[in-house]
C-alpha cells in the first residue's frame, strides 16, 4: 500500500477489492441478462439465418398474456393463492417444530436428524414424483373421509383450497426444513437470562412465548417469509415455471416468454414489497 494513501481511502479500496468479483458477476449474470430479457419482452423475435431478428412491438406481449392467453392468468392466480395459503402454514409449522426441538430431551439429536432430512431431499424431481404418485396423501385423511366431512360444515369455496392444503400437507411440511433450521438457530440465540427474568416475574409459559420468544424471533419470521416466498416461486414443479419454459423452448416464442418471465418477476416483487411493508415496524426497530 502506498504511504500517501489515507486510512479511509485504503479501507474503501479494500472493500471494493472484496466485493469486486460479485459486482462483475452481477453485471454478467444478472444485470445484463435482465436488461436483455426486458428488451426481448418488448419485441417480437424471429429466428432468421442471420440470427435473432427483433421487431419492436411495445407492450403487445404483456397485453397478450392477460387478454389472449387462456393458460397464463389462471396459473399465475393459482401460484399466488397457493403461496398465500402455504407460506403461513409453513411458518406456523416450522415455528412449532423449532419450539419442540429447542427443549432439551432424550433423543434430541435423532429427532433433529429426522426434521432436517427434508432439507436434503425435498427438492427437485424426487419430490415431484412422490407428489404425482400420491405419497403426499396421509392415510389419516382417507380413513376418516375428511373431504366429505369438511364439505358439510363449510362452503365449497372454502373447503376446496383447504382440502388442497391438507392433501399436500406432508409435502408442504417437507418444504419447511430450512425454515425450521432458521427458527431453531434464532431460538438458540435468545439469552436464557431473559427467560429467567420473565420466570422470576411470574410469567406463565404462554406469556413468556408472546412477550419474550416471539418478539425476539420476529427477524427470523421475516427471513423465513422471504425465503418461503422465493422458494415457492422458484421450486421445481411450479406450474408457471414449467409454462414459461414451454413457451421459451418448445414454442420458441422468445419475446412472449421473456414478457411472461418479467410479469412473474414483477408479481413476486410486489408480494415481497407487501411483506416488507407489513414487517416495517420490526425492521425500523432494528434500525
Amino acid at each position: 500500500m502506498k504511504k500517501g494513501m489515507s486510512m479511509r481511502t485504503r479501507h474503501y479500496l479494500e472493500g471494493y477489492m472484496f466485493t469486486l468479483p460479485w459486482v462483475i458477476g452481477f453485471l454478467a449474470f444478472m444485470a445484463v441478462p435482465l436488461a436483455r430479457s426486458l428488451y426481448f419482452s418488448l419485441n417480437k423475435l424471429e429466428i432468421k439465418t442471420a440470427g435473432l431478428q427483433a421487431h419492436y412491438i411495445g407492450l403487445e406481449n404483456f397485453r397478450k398474456a392477460f387478454t389472449v392467453d387462456v393458460e397464463f392468468t389462471p396459473k399465475l392466480i393459482g401460484t399466488v393463492s397457493g403461496l398465500i395459503f402455504n407460506v403461513p402454514l409453513i411458518l406456523i409449522f416450522a415455528m412449532f417444530t423449532a419450539l419442540l426441538l429447542n427443549r432439551s430431551f432424550k433423543g434430541r439429536m435423532i429427532f433433529r436428524g429426522i426434521f432436517f432430512l427434508p432439507v436434503i431431499i425435498a427438492s427437485g424431481t424426487v419430490l415431484t414424483k412422490l407428489r404425482e404418485d400420491g405419497a403426499a396423501n396421509l392415510p389419516i385423511f382417507q380413513q376418516y373421509d375428511l373431504a366429505s366431512t369438511l364439505s358439510t360444515i363449510m362452503p365449497m369455496e372454502l373447503a376446496r383450497p383447504l382440502l388442497g392444503i391438507l392433501e399436500s400437507l406432508s409435502l408442504s411440511m417437507w418444504d419447511s426444513g430450512v425454515q425450521i433450521l432458521i427458527f431453531l438457530a434464532g431460538l438458540q440465540s435468545i439469552s436464557t437470562h431473559l427467560y429467567e427474568a420473565a420466570k422470576v416475574d411470574g410469567a406463565t409459559p404462554w406469556e413468556i412465548f408472546w412477550k419474550v420468544t416471539f418478539p425476539m424471533i420476529t427477524p427470523m419470521i421475516l427471513v423465513n417469509t422471504l425465503f418461503s416466498i422465493v422458494n415457492s416461486f422458484t421450486k421445481a414443479g411450479n406450474p408457471i415455471m414449467d409454462y414459461i419454459m414451454d413457451v421459451l423452448f418448445k414454442d420458441n416464442d422468445f419475446g412472449y416468454g421473456a414478457a411472461l418471465g418479467w410479469i412473474y418477476f414483477l408479481v413476486s416483487f410486489v408480494i415481497i414489497g407487501i411483506v416488507l411493508y407489513l414487517f416495517r415496524k420490526s425492521l425500523r426497530e432494528r434500525g
Binding site: 449474470f29 430479457s37 415455471m241 416483487f269
Partner: protein, 329 residues
C-alpha cells in the same frame, strides 16, 4: 511468536463469546415441567416425525414391491416378496456410475467454489463500508429475489455464444463470482457469520502487519468453518437436485447427471406402458399398470449419495447452523 499471540487472543475471544450464548441450558428442568407436558411433547414429536419420514418410508416400501403388489389392495406397506429387481433395473436404466460422476462434477465443484467465493465476498460486505455500499447490498437482495426463469433466455444465448453448452462452465464460472445457484443467499450467510465475529481478531492481525488478504485467508476464513459446512451442504444438495439449469445447458445424453436421467427414465417407463411393451398390461378390473416401483427405486438410488452424506454430517450440520447464525442478528 507474534502469530502465537494472535492465535491466543482469538481463542480467548471465541471462548468468552461462546460462554455467553452457551446453548442447551435445560430450561425445562428449571421450570419443572409436569409429566403430562412431557407426554404431550413426545407425542407431538413422534407425530410430526412420522409425517416427515412418511414419504421416505413410502419411497422405500414402493421400491421393493413387484408390479403385482402395487395393484394388490391387500398390500399396503410390506411387499409380498422381497424384490430387488427394481433396483437392478433402475441402476441400469440410470446408467448409474457414469451419471454419478457427472452429478458429482456439477455439484461438488460449484459447491466448493461457492464456499471460497461467497466467503470472500461476504467478508467484504461484513467488514467494509464504502461509497455505494448500500446500493450493492440492495443488489445482493435483489439478486436473491429474481426468479431464474426471468433471465434464463438471455443467459442461454450468452452461454451459447461463449460455446459453454454441454460443458461444466455454466455451473462453475458463475460460482467463481459468487453467483450461480442461490449464490446471493450464500453470500448473505457468510455476511451474517462474519458480522457476528468480534472485530478484535482482525485488529490484532493488522497490528501484526498482515494485509487485508492475508488477514482474511489465514485468520477469518478458517474461523468460518460452521458457515462453510452449512453453505457446502446446501449448495451441494441443491445443485445435486437441480434439473432446471442442467436440462438447458446439458443436452447430450453422455453429459446428463443422475437427476436428469431419472427424468428420462420416468418418461421411458411411461412410454413403455403406453405402447404396451412393458410386459405389464391393464386388466378388466380397471387396474392401471404403473411402474411406480421402478421409478421409486430410481429416485432412491438418485438421492442415496446425499442421504449417506447427510447421515455422516448431520450432527455437525445442525450444530453449525446454530453457530453460523444464518438466522441473522
Amino acid at each position: 511468536m507474534q502469530s502465537n499471540n494472535v492465535a491466543a487472543t482469538i481463542r480467548q475471544t471465541l471462548a468468552s463469546g461462546r460462554e455467553k450464548t452457551s446453548p442447551y441450558v435445560p430450561i425445562a428442568k428449571r421450570y419443572g415441567r409436569s409429566t403430562a407436558s412431557w407426554v404431550f411433547h413426545y407425542l407431538m414429536l413422534f407425530g410430526l416425525a412420522f409425517v416427515f419420514i412418511y414419504p421416505m418410508l413410502y419411497l422405500i416400501s414402493k421400491s421393493l414391491m413387484q408390479s403385482s403388489d402395487l395393484s394388490d389392495a391387500s398390500v399396503q406397506w410390506i411387499p409380498k416378496a422381497l424384490d430387488f429387481s427394481n433396483f437392478k433395473y433402475a441402476w441400469e436404466a440410470l446408467d448409474y456410475l457414469p451419471k454419478f460422476k457427472n452429478s458429482i462434477i456439477t455439484s461438488l465443484v460449484p459447491a466448493l467454489v461457492q464456499i471460497a467465493s461467497c466467503a470472500f465476498i461476504g467478508y467484504g460486505f461484513a467488514r467494509y463500508r464504502f461509497p455505494g455500499y448500500m446500493l450493492l447490498l440492495g443488489f445482493l437482495l435483489f439478486t436473491f429475489l429474481v426468479p431464474p426463469q426471468t433471465i434464463i433466455l438471455p443467459l442461454y444465448i450468452f452461454y451459447s455464444d461463449l460455446h459453454w453448452m454441454n460443458t461444466y462452465f455454466p455451473f462453475v464460472i458463475p460460482a467463481v463470482f459468487g453467483h450461480g445457484l442461490r449464490g446471493a443467499l450464500f453470500v448473505m450467510i457468510f455476511l451474517q457469520f462474519f458480522r457476528g465475529l468480534p472485530g478484535q481478531l482482525e485488529e490484532a492481525a493488522r497490528i501484526d502487519g498482515a494485509g487485508a488478504l492475508r488477514t482474511f485467508w489465514s485468520i477469518m476464513f478458517p474461523l468460518a468453518r460452521p458457515a462453510m459446512l452449512v453453505v457446502f451442504l446446501f449448495s451441494l444438495v441443491w445443485h445435486w437436485n437441480d434439473t432446471f439449469e442442467p436440462s438447458l445447458f446439458t443436452t447430450i445424453a453422455d453429459k446428463f447427471n443422475l437427476m436428469q436421467n431419472l427424468k428420462v427414465m420416468d418418461g421411458q417407463t411411461q412410454l413403455q406402458l403406453q405402447n404396451g411393451t412393458a410386459g405389464v398390461t391393464g386388466d378388466l378390473t380397471g387396474f392401471v399398470p404403473t411402474f411406480a416401483n421402478r421409478v421409486m427405486a430410481g429416485s432412491l438410488l438418485t438421492i442415496l449419495p446425499m442421504l449417506i452424506l447427510y447421515l455422516f454430517t448431520q450432527r455437525y450440520f445442525v450444530e453449525s447452523v446454530e453457530r453460523a447464525g444464518i438466522a441473522g442478528e
